[in-house]
């Protein structure tokens, strides 16, 4: 809709829409993708290939994100209701532990400097493949000290020593603190207010905030990734230390409006964009789509939601279309948009978004229970539950649900939190 007034934005928008309506080219035989079915086996093949055989040289750009590569692929498997065999679980923990720094935090690879982002990915990966025997190797006292050493007077955190300050780091720190039972008042003093000040006039959140004179101003425009991090950080803080009635909150009304406006129209197959007037992209299926559960949780806390709170305010059926038709790559893996190649990052965030859409679409009608049947499909992968093909129609979820705060299955997150709450763990302070 360019109102007869084309600009670079509307021109690239038009070009993208043209690519979205073309059916995906299928080099392989009878593909499930043109039918809008999630091709579990195709994606399992893609993930297994990368995990076991390794990644081609173009992944050198991810050399400082090695714990992320593991998290993206292993959490994708969890969503697909599959887990590694014991031998490869051990290999995964060993790989992660090789990235642990004497400072207690994790680097992007062995010998790399400690950093909040790879630490989140490492801890989550340990949550997926670990057990108390490997969790006991996480050095909480040092990690807590490292966290405190990154703290700024305004309540924010640097991502690493001398690193940048942004809301991704704050989220990663809080998620890890929660999983490892290290959320203290000292740690999060001032953080609430800092996160709040990242909200922009559009309703979404920016990367960071800066003081200008007496005011503070968001650095950068409202953005899907930062909005997820800010909102999840906010919910983590609220659930640990509920705020008093009088204290300033984030603006839920403008946030809600901004979130629903990130969803594309029919000609964009209802995918999500990450900023106003930008193009749809599969990864925002999670970054934006994942926000609605968090928002609902906040509304519930404030007693704002009526009895029909289960009814989603966005279009989960629509989002399925984008992921199944446009984001699935015919050779396996998921992606930003056609004609791009798939990668591990987009594979996880598209699948996580699809999971959110599946559960949101059925929330008001059925409550789903997954049946656990540990059938062995290969020596490497074990199916942990029966999976049915997914359709864009109102079918029961074929994927596992994912916890909106961590992007872990609830079983994994809860087991880890329970372990670190138990008396047998050494104190961190």
């Amino acid at each position: 809709m360019d109102d007869g007034y084309p600009t670079p934005t509307s021109i690239s928008q038009k070009a993208t829409v043209a690519l979205l309506v073309q059916p995906p080219i299928s080099p392989s035989s009878a593909s499930k993708i043109p039918q809008g079915i999630l091709d579990n086996n195709l994606h399992l093949g893609y993930l297994g290939r990368h995990l076991l055989q390794g990644l081609p040289a173009r992944y050198t750009s991810q050399d400082a994100s090695q714990s992320w590569l593991l998290f993206w692929s292993l959490q994708s498997l969890s969503l697909l209701k599959v887990e590694l065999d014991e031998g490869n679980k051990k290999r995964a923990s060993d790989t992660i532990l090789a990235m642990q720094n004497p400072a207690g935090a994790f680097g992007g690879g062995p010998g790399q400097a400690p950093h909040l982002l790879p630490t989140y990915a490492a801890i989550c990966t340990m949550g997926i493949v670990g057990s108390p025997s490997t969790w006991s190797q996480i050095n909480r006292p040092s990690l807590y000290q490292f966290f405190m050493s990154l703290k700024e007077p305004d309540g924010s955190f640097r991502v690493s020593q001398r690193g940048e300050v942004d809301v991704r780091g704050v989220y990663c720190l809080l998620a890890v603190a929660k999983l490892l039972g290290m959320m203290t008042r000292e740690l999060v003093l001032g953080t609430r207010e800092w996160v709040r000040s990242c909200q922009t006039y559009e309703g979404g959140f920016a990367s960071a905030t800066i003081g200008v004179g007496e005011q503070s101003a968001p650095l950068g425009e409202a953005h899907g990734g930062y909005t997820f991090c800010a909102l999840a950080a906010w919910v983590l803080l609220e659930s640990e230390f509920p705020s008093d009635k009088g204290s300033k909150s984030i603006n839920l009304k403008s946030l809600r409006r901004w979130l629903v406006n990130m969803q594309g129209d029919e000609d964009e197959l209802y995918g999500f964009r990450g900023r106003t007037n930008k193009l749809v992209d599969g990864c925002y299926s999670w970054w934006v789509g994942g926000c609605f559960k968090l928002l609902a949780e906040l509304e519930e806390r404030r007693g704002m939601s009526g009895k029909d709170a289960e009814e989603p305010i966005w279009n989960p059926e629509g989002l399925k279309q984008y992921i199944l038709y446009a984001a699935q790559h015919p050779a396996g893996g998921l992606r930003d948009k056609p004609p791009k190649s798939p990668d591990m990052y987009h594979t996880l965030y598209c699948l996580a978004g699809l999971s959110v859409a599946q559960y949101a679409a059925t929330a008001s009608t059925t409550t789903s229970t997954s049946t656990t049947s540990s059938t062995s499909t290969s020596p490497t992968f074990r199916t942990i539950a029966q999976s049915a093909p997914s359709q864009t129609s109102n079918a029961p979820p074929s994927l596992n649900a994912t916890d909106p705060l961590f992007n872990l299955t609830q079983t994994h997150a809860e087991a880890m939190m329970a372990y670190f709450k138990s008396g047998e763990v050494e104190a961190f302070q």
């Binding site: 600009t7 670079p8 995990l51 940048e164 800066i210 101003a217 009526g306």
Partner: protein
Amino acid sequence: MSSPTTSAPEPPRYADRPEWSDVIPVEQYENVNPLAPIFYKDIYKDAADYFRGIVKTGEKSQRVLDLTERIIRLNPAHYTAWQYRYETLLAIEADLEDELRLMDELAITYLKTYQVWHHRRLLMLKIRKPATELVFIAKTFREDAKNYHTWSYRQWLLAYFNDDSLWSGELDFVDELLNADIRNNSAWHHRFFTVFQSGVRDGEQDTERILRRELIYVKQSISLAPNNASAWNYLRGILDHNGIPYSKMIAFVQPYTLPNDDQKADLVDLDNPPPSKDAHLPCAAAVEFLADIYEAEGGDSMLKATELWKSLGNEHDVARKKYWEYRIREGLRAIQT
């Protein structure tokens, strides 16, 4: 592998350079058979092994700058190499302006990397010459006018150094970018940042006049291309920020809620520019805006609001039907209690 036009001769590996023979390279994984290993090219593995060797001994020297530059050019997201490079620059008291010139090239090549921009910020904290930086940034917008890192870096420069002379060119700068693309949301955000979130500067004390100027600007932008979410969000933003009720805009908004056939081509009202003749009407954002006005009025007007929400869900903005249904539920709940 590479085409003849792009292939430059590969620089010699550190393992083959006698002047590096005193460094013991360190393998990445010892005693671990990693899952999802990356198959690096030789040249990267060589540099990374020597870098780990250097980090181990803690050497900070000129040759470390050479090594870290090689790693950064092969993988600009290697934050440890950046961090170590910065510490080395300080330790050997290198000329930071030279470093900045090197960064001019790297910033354009690796525009989307966090580290190039953060390193620049660290340099600027020492060099403290923000004015020339603004000129450089403007140049990078020719490559990508919506680059998030670049915009937040620009905003940081302005706010951190917070000097009137720095701010003075910003509005013209934004104008230029919005003239090139009125849908550039990054530029709209920057306008908001500059006008409303940077404190009050010389010549801007008359807030009434500023507000009036901004309202005219955004209305004219909407009139050129009415279905532009960025402009509507800016309008809402400045009204919210200044505590002005949306109802003050009713005369402006109403024509945009009507179909093209119902437009009255009468007097030219500068305060309320009409939709362009090629506009796609009714404009959903205007219908939403009008519904917000009715909702705020409450009472009987709430029913007018629900009618508009219904029309959005069924006709003008079907993709968001569930949201409009939610608005109707909430609206009705509000007048029942």
